[in-house]
Every structure is written in C-alpha cells, then in structure tokens.
C-alpha cells in the first residue's frame, strides 16, 4: 500500500504544484497529506475544480484535480468543452468507486463504465498500482505534457492508504 505522503511527494516530483478537488474516502489519506503541506484548495463541485485547474495552468501551474468517479459525471462538460478544446492539461486523480460491483448502489453504474467513459471522451488514463507506481507517474507527466489535455490516474481501493485502513 502506498502511503499518502509518498503519493503526494511523487506528484510533486513530476511537477504538480496546484491541487484542488472534492473529497472521497479512498482519497482521504492523500487529501490529509495535501492539507498538512498546505497545498490543497478545496472546491465545492468537480466542474469548479476543473475550471480552477484550467486557470491555475494558464497562470503557470501544473494542476491536479482529485475526485470520486461520480465527479467525472459532474465535470464532464467542463473537461470536454474547456480543458480538451483549449488544450489545458491537468492530472485527474480519480478514485474508482463501484469497482467490480462491490460498493453502494449509487456507484455501481459509474464503477462499471468509468474506463469506457474515459476512452469514449478520449481522456488518457492509467490505473495506479504499487508495483508500477514509478512508471505510472512518469507516464502521467509525459502524456499530459505531450497532449496538453487532462489525463486520469485511477486510484482503486487499498492502493493508496486512506484515512480508515
């Protein structure tokens, strides 16, 4: 299991220096560490977070947006009618609720279709594992910089230490 501080350090090491988003339990450990480091700007909706990230990018930052995968639904229009067409990269750190059909009912549909949804809207994505973490972070940075669009790093339950292990 990856510790929250190791995850945050890895993000900083690839150059991410603006963090916003809306919490999820799977992301609890990461957000706690970001708050410890005074790096986190909370948003009230995921589309707002995506907009803030776009602004921060244009002001010289490399932004990340943390969200539960339900937030992909909320922010989809901003992602495809702002960031993608205006070429504003950001790292989407998306927790995979509903993976394998084992979660509360509201997460099951998104849990099943999330990767296909990302494919459909042409957002490159990679699912983080402890073993491949180094390559995963490197890949995220490279694809973000090369394509200049949002790229998703998908976080499954138990891969990064949460608040309640």
């Amino acid at each position: 299991m990856i510790e929250g501080d190791v995850f945050v350090q890895a993000m900083q090491d690839i150059g991410v220096n603006f963090f916003t988003g809306v919490p999820d339990s799977i992301l609890g450990g990461i957000i706690a560490e970001l708050m410890n480091r005074r790096l986190y700007t909370p948003a009230v909706r995921e589309d707002e977070a995506v907009g803030m990230a776009a602004g921060a990018y244009m002001a010289g930052k490399f932004p990340a947006v943390l969200m539960q995968n339900s937030g992909l639904g909320t922010s989809l229009n901003a992602l495809i009618s702002l960031n993608m067409i205006y070429r504003q990269p950001c790292v989407l750190v998306v927790s995979w609720r509903g993976q394998g059909g084992k979660d509360a009912p509201e997460h099951l549909v998104m849990g099943e279709v999330m990767l296909r949804l990302l494919d459909t809207v042409k957002i490159p994505h990679r699912t983080l594992t402890e073993k491949s973490a180094h390559e995963d972070f490197t890949w995220i940075k490279e694809v973000c910089m090369k394509q200049q669009i949002p790229v998703a790093l998908v976080i499954t339950k138990g891969v990064v230490k949460g608040l309640h292990p």
Binding site: F18, G60, L82
Partner: protein, 193 residues
C-alpha cells in the same frame, strides 16, 4: 419587457465602459454573447474568451487569481452563468482572494438561446455573493454608477462583485475568431510574470 428596460444600458455599452478602465489585467469572459461582444469592442491578449463550459468563468478566474496573487483578476459573467455555477460564489467567499473582481451582466434572460427568462429577477445575485463572503458588492443601473463603483472596486481588496443591470440588446458581434488553443497560448503569454 421589464419596466426599467428602456432606461438600462446594453451589455455592450457596459463592457465598453469597463474595458476603458482596464489595461493589462487578466479578464476571463464567460461563454455566449459577452465573449463575442468583448472581442469586438477590444480584443486584448489578456482576454480569455470562453465558448462552452457555462458557469465556469469565475472558477477559471479563481484559479488564475490564486496562482497569481499579485495580479488583479477580473471575470465578466452573466446571470444565467452565475446561477449555473452558484457554488463558486461560496468557494470565492470562503477563500477570499483579495485580487478577484467579479462583474455580472444581469439581463434576466438566457440571451444566446432565445431570451428564455432566468430567475435573477427574483434572486438578487449580489446579495448571494455578499452572504457567501464577498468583501464588496454593488448593484448598478446606469453607466455613471458603473464607472464609479468599478473604479472603487479596482482600488479595494476583494473579492468584489459588481452586478450591472443591462437590457436585452445584443451587439452585432460575430464569433471569436481565434481558435481555443490559440486563446490559451495568447492569454498565458500575456499574463506571464
């Protein structure tokens, strides 16, 4: 037509008055007619013209304002836009960026889609902003008050909201000519440093 409609200025007249008072500040302009009209009135590289992602202009402006605390950041917004992204009033009110000026052109309709009514005739958006924590808010009904209040807000610590009641007139302005990636590049270069 509303009773005061005949005496109000148009959004384009309001934009022209505002842009006369601005120089090189970043201005994030919401989708629809406001971007087209601002582009026609004065096309500056410091303008970020939006198409799409309605409701998101103040969120983008907030991102710029947080990343560039020494630059005063302006956003031109509409009543339908504010209503769609109303949560951002709370985020701005909570974070209280001093360098954030939110201008709202309130014509009480969704102009781009055929003047369907919004609900800003009964919901005073500047009062919502004040309750959310904006430091300064004002509602103006004519050009003189607009100039006075906007000059004042540019001097004060924000966040500030200037709500300008405008009529439904639409300036004959075409679509913004620059393609979106070019708007991003140009804006980034213009606000560097």
């Amino acid at each position: 037509m509303r009773p005061e409609q005949g005496t109000l200025i148009s959004r384009a007249q309001a934009i022209a008055a505002l842009l006369e008072l601005l120089t090189d500040q970043p201005v994030i302009i919401c989708n629809g007619f406001p971007s087209r009209e601002a582009h026609k009135i004065a096309d500056r590289p410091t303008h970020f013209y939006m198409i799409g992602s309605m409701g998101n202009a103040p969120a983008i402006a907030l991102g710029v304002a947080l990343a560039k605390p020494n630059k005063q950041v302006i956003t031109f917004d509409g009543d339908g836009n504010v209503l769609m992204g109303m949560g951002t009033l709370a985020t701005v009110g909570a974070l209280r960026p001093k360098n954030f000026v939110h201008v709202v052109f309130d014509n009480e309709v969704y102009g781009t889609t055929g003047n369907q009514p919004t609900i800003s005739n009964v919901v005073p958006l500047e009062k919502v902003a004040k309750a959310a924590g904006y430091a300064n808010v004002a509602r103006v009904l004519d050009r003189d008050d607009l100039v006075y209040e906007f000059k004042d807000m540019l001097k004060k610590d924000g966040p500030s909201m200037l709500l300008i009641k405008v009529n439904e007139f639409v300036e004959d302005a075409g679509r913004v000519l620059h393609d979106p990636p070019e708007i991003t590049r140009r804006f980034m270069k213009a606000i560097e440093g």
